[in-house]
């Protein structure tokens, strides 16, 4: 029994239910893992299956069809992934461990080369394709990175009316994407946008350069982040407007967007 008077079973039930309905904090997740290793499975089955069954029951009476455009995007992503050399779990016939390891490296190298080729193509193809593929890469990053940070842009000291969006960043992979809607299209010969990444381990005066970029549409635009240095502990992303090519140190006179990591 815990100090609060809760039995282990009560607490285990509470953690299981919170995990399903509201999610767990990092501390609770650790506690959950510890319990799951020693608590016996309930003979009545799992709460997770109960909640999923309720979701299914309610869906069948209140279904909203998947929008056609979204369906097409998901299908295209799936087909693209299916045709890639890196197999899905279960796609490859079972083979011995040694054989699997020996064939994995060439596939990985091929996949890396393909990724590089595709990425190079992104840089040289029309903007429509850049948006489409950046969207897929962003989705992929979010889906495959447990540590990804997602932040909404908020107005900076010199805001641009109607500009909004978000930024995602994986500290482990050092990869991220900015998404914008309503950010003013820039005249590239006169000015460019530049991202700055503020790291707790770095002087506030010298944030990490996150790359120079252009906005070619006031619709949704997704821009990959190109951090010039490793970012250990990000606490703020800031977008400034600079001369073409960007600057080494920004005066921060024109700073339309900020995204701050909330202190935990």
């Amino acid at each position: 029994m815990s100090s609060s008077g809760q039995t282990d079973k009560d607490r285990w039930d509470e953690l299981q239910i919170d995990r399903l309905l509201i999610g767990l904090s990092a501390d609770e997740q650790v506690e959950y893992e510890a319990f799951s290793g020693r608590m016996p499975a309930s003979p009545s089955g799992s709460f997770e299956k109960v909640v999923a069954s309720i979701d299914v029951g309610w869906w069948e009476s209140n279904s909203i069809p998947l929008p056609e455009q979204l369906r097409k995007t998901i299908r295209d992503q799936a087909v693209q992934e299916l045709s890639s050399p890196a197999p899905w779990p279960g796609k490859t016939p079972a083979v011995g461990q040694t054989a699997a390891r020996s064939t994995r490296l060439p596939w990985a190298v091929a996949a890396a080369c393909l990724s590089l080729t595709v990425f190079t193509l992104f840089l040289n193809r029309p903007s429509k394709d850049i948006v489409k593929n950046a969207t897929q890469l962003r989705t992929e990053l979010i889906a495959t990175s447990k540590d990804v940070i997602e932040l909404k842009w908020s107005a900076g000291p010199t805001p641009i009316a109607g500009a909004e969006g978000d930024v995602v960043w994986s500290p482990e992979k050092q990869q991220g994407f900015m998404r914008f809607r309503g950010l003013a299209v820039n005249e590239t010969t006169q000015q460019q946008y530049q991202l700055w990444i503020f790291d707790k381990n770095q002087d506030e005066k010298t944030p990490v350069d996150g790359g120079v970029f252009d906005i070619s549409s006031d619709g949704e635009v997704i821009i990959p982040i190109h951090a010039k240095l490793r970012v250990a502990d990000v606490y703020l992303f800031a977008v400034t407007i600079e001369k073409p090519g960007g600057v080494v140190v920004s005066t921060r006179e024109r700073l339309p967007l900020l995204a701050m990591v909330k202190k935990s």
Binding site: L21, G23, S53, I54, V56, L70, Q77, L82, P87, W88
Partner: protein, 187 residues
């Protein structure tokens, strides 16, 4: 009972992807719309959920449960994970403003899922206040504190009602399975 599609997806069959989107697109989208703060968030979430599904397709085991329940499980895990991440940043609007845009669930007329049918029948056996908090929590995705405010029920009582309701549902659903297995009337 419908023939599972995920084993075919795991084998890389493109036709199974199409069938899967036809069969479960509405389930995933309905869940994402209800449990996401905005439509763009829901669109992102749905894409992530299907990536999860394709990658975990080989893990589905027909003997352990229905495929629709598996899909709902994968979807809910991803959606709650996203909610948790979003809650670390300032919300653009209250979750109430969007979640209540969707009508509460009606009495179900199940055609395909035995799990869903059992769950709906067992829900009907709960007390009114237990059913209400479960609906606000599971269907509308409200946190316990919001349910407390909305129903005027103390926070501790909300947690108790949710736990008691789910425990009863779990027992009821298990009992229904046993009755079916022994050749009786299902519910």
């Amino acid at each position: 009972m419908l023939v599972p599609l995920l084993p075919r997806v795991a084998q890389g069959e493109v036709a199974a992807i199409d069938e899967c989107l036809d069969r479960y697109g509405g389930l995933v989208w309905s869940l994402a719309r209800r449990l996401s703060p905005t439509t763009p968030d829901a669109e992102d979430a749905v894409q992530e959920i299907f990536v999860d599904l394709w990658r975990n397709a080989a893990r589905y085991r027909e003997d352990l449960g229905e495929e629709a329940t598996f899909v709902a499980t994968v979807a809910r895990r991803r959606l709650i994970d996203r909610q948790r991440k979003l809650s670390r940043t300032p919300k653009p609007q209250s979750i109430d403003e969007t979640t209540f845009a969707y009508a509460s669930p009606e009495v179900t007329t199940i055609e395909t899922s035995e799990d869903g049918q059992r769950a709906a029948a067992c829900l009907d056996k709960l007390r009114e206040n237990e059913r209400e908090v479960l609906e606000l929590s599971i269907y509308h995705g409200l946190p316990h504190s919001r349910i407390s405010e909305r129903t005027g029920t103390p926070l501790g009582t909300v947690k108790t009602l949710i736990r008691r309701g789910l425990t009863q549902l779990r027992s009821c659903m298990q009992l229904s399975i046993r009755v079916i297995a022994e050749g009786g009337v299902s519910l």
